[in-house]
């Protein structure tokens, strides 16, 4: 457990300084993942960079990247529903080498499985409740904007905003907004 706590700190602060180089492959990201700010959750993801190139010119100050990012996530509305999300995004990222900040845009497609509390039964003796759940399933096409900053070669923080449309065949789509705040670790350079 102690090692688990130390690892992120080492990754965040133990780097050898920032180096201008292509994005390492398969970083691991972990983030606080929230639907409409208050429904808390967590998201894990990785990223496969399939093209990365510097800006044209003698002194390149920007790095462009195209990537594919698979993710899994969980979030909940306490006592109401639990959600399991599998998502994949195709994105473009532009890193400013001088200040190590970046922005990224991506388009994704997710599959959202929701365990919904449909009914509940209240015990009148002690007030306890038992819940009857149902599953709902949605496709979740989404658009994403992300910004962040590299801390060193091994870590960066980011914030990400997602707009999605939860769609199934039984009803009209529902707009959804997600907010993420997380860190990405480059473990396998």
């Amino acid at each position: 457990m102690k090692n688990l706590l130390i690892l992120p700190l080492v990754l965040l602060f133990g780097g050898q300084g920032y180096a201008q180089q292509a994005q390492p492959q398969f970083p691991l990201s972990i983030s606080y993942f929230s639907h409409t700010l208050y429904q808390p959750g967590v998201k894990l993801g990785t990223q496969w960079t399939f093209r990365s190139w510097p800006a044209e010119g003698s002194e390149a100050t920007k790095q462009h990247t195209l990537y594919l990012s698979p993710q899994i996530a969980y979030y909940t509305h306490i006592d109401n529903y639990s959600n399991y999300l599998i998502n994949a995004e195709l994105g473009y990222r532009r890193l400013r080498l001088n200040n190590r900040r970046y922005i990224a845009f991506s388009i994704g497609m997710g599959y959202l499985a929701r365990s919904n509390v449909r009914n509940l039964s209240v015990n009148l003796g002690d007030g306890s409740t038992s819940k009857q759940r149902e599953w709902n399933h949605y496709f979740l096409p989404n658009l994403n904007f992300e910004f962040g900053r590299k801390i060193n070669d091994r870590a960066e923080w980011f914030s990400k905003w997602t707009y999605g449309l939860a769609t199934n065949f039984g009803q009209s789509p529902t707009s959804m907004v997600f907010v993420e705040l997380g860190a990405r670790f480059f473990l396998f350079q």
């Binding site: 639907h35 409409t36 700010l37 208050y38 429904q39 509305h77 306490i78 006592d79 109401n80 919904n116 509390v117 449909r118 009914n119 509940l120 039964s121 209240v122 015990n123 009148l124 003796g125 002690d126 007030g127 306890s128 409740t129 038992s130 819940k131 009803q171 009209s172 789509p173 529902t174 707009s175 959804m176 907004v177």
Partner: protein, 398 residues
């Protein structure tokens, strides 16, 4: 969180931030515990009104072995809790208070009997399809489904709750068809008179009638209530309200239709069968305040029903009149012993509540939907809980 508060918050703070209240209310946190009642009183108590507060007060006193009587103006108990039995639809319908605006464990809290071996099924009320009617256009607003959440009874009603768990203990202490018109607390005993000329006597009186009845002077207090108390009552807005239920042969409506804009939630059509596993297609109408006057100003229920269907036809291209099978209108504004909806407070909420709930001469006490000191005014559970609060004050002083 009431519907009105819900959308006011939305308007004020924007989507998302307004729903922290909902989050916290859904964390399984129990409502504040009810005040203890010290049963060291051997006099008689009269309860004026057999709504949620009056019934609960009787239930408490009966369990404490204290002598009491409930004087009700109407021929039935319930007040603004009223039920439309199965027959109109294949499920019973709340014609008055309908939603449970708090953690559902409040039901156990109100009964306050750990030995009871029963449970109640509820609907986790989260409509999925929302539409807004504004500027003569019907717009999708399903995003609201991410935030909206309340509870409803699944196969019973608020009326059933009181009828099943409280009324059996107190029904022999209830007097119906007795509108009280005089409360004389000038002497050692409190004298109460109804419009039939019947007189009642007690040591203390718990008044649970709707605010409007006090405001309009239907009860003559002798001596008059303190000016601060009168001012507090008069400061409360008690707007008109109308509910209606339409049964259709086809379902053509969303789970919820908000009229006149998303942020004005005084005017709703909603699928009354949502989550109830019913076969009937029943659309409910809830309209309160100025929007309700469009209906309540009409003279007859037939005229109101026609206006409702006309309005729905505008929204749904004539489908309402095409598929209509039956309609029930509940105009609370025309109920002689209610005359409106529920309390809407001004800016000075806390001091108004304090003044309203303060006893007069240690003989008159007050309870009802406007008196819940825990802050859930305008709700059925708040009215019920206010009975515990009022009796706690009354009996501790004895």
């Amino acid at each position: 969180m009431t519907r009105k508060e819900f959308l006011k918050d939305l308007a004020a703070l924007g989507l998302g931030a307004s729903f922290f209240g909902t989050l916290f209310s859904s964390c399984g946190v129990q409502d504040a515990t009810l005040p203890d009642i010290e049963a060291n009183f051997d006099g008689k108590i009269l309860i004026i009104g057999a709504g949620a507060a009056g019934i609960t007060a009787g239930y408490i006193l009966q369990r404490q072995g204290i002598d009491f009587q409930i004087i009700e103006a109407a021929p039935i108990f319930g007040g603004r809790v009223k039920k439309l039995n199965k027959g109109f639809a294949d499920f019973p319908i709340d014609l008055g208070g309908e939603w449970i605006h708090t953690d559902p464990s409040i039901l156990a809290t109100l009964i306050d009997d750990p030995t009871i071996n029963a449970s109640i099924d509820l609907v986790n009320y989260r409509p999925k399809t929302f539409r807004v009617w504004k500027d003569n256009k019907l717009k999708k607003r399903n995003i609201v489904s991410n935030f909206y959440r309340e509870y409803k009874f699944k196969s019973t009603t608020w009326y059933d709750f009181f009828e099943q768990y409280m009324i059996p203990n107190i029904q022999d202490r209830m007097v119906y068809n007795s509108p009280v018109d005089l409360i004389d607390y000038s002497g050692d005993k409190v004298l109460v008179r109804d419009t039939n000329g019947n007189n009642y006597e007690a040591d203390k009186v718990l008044v649970t009638v709707p605010v409007k009845i006090i405001q309009d002077g239907h009860i003559d207090f002798q001596p008059a209530l303190p000016p601060a108390k009168v001012d507090a009552f008069n400061s409360i807005d008690f707007p008109p309200i109308l509910k209606a239920f339409m049964k259709f042969s086809e379902r053509f409506y969303p789970d919820m239709l908000i009229m006149d804009g998303l942020f004005i939630q005084d005017y709703l059509f909603y699928d009354a069968a949502f989550g109830k596993e019913a076969q009937s297609n029943v659309l409910g109408l809830f309209v309160i305040g100025d929007a309700a006057r469009d209906y309540t100003d009409l003279a007859t229920r037939e005229a109101i029903a026609n206006r409702i269907i006309q309005r729905l036809d505008e929204v749904f291209d004539g489908k309402a009149s095409r598929y209509l099978e039956d309609i029930v209108v509940q105009d609370w504004t025309k109920e002689p012993f209610v005359q409106g909806s529920y309390s809407h407070f001004g800016d000075d909420y806390e001091s108004t509540i304090e003044t309203l709930t303060s006893p007069v001469s240690d003989k008159l006490y007050f309870a009802g939907e406007a008196m819940d000191v825990e802050g859930d005014t305008s709700t059925v559970h708040g009215a019920s809980r206010s009975a515990y609060q009022a009796l706690s004050k009354m009996l501790r002083k004895a």
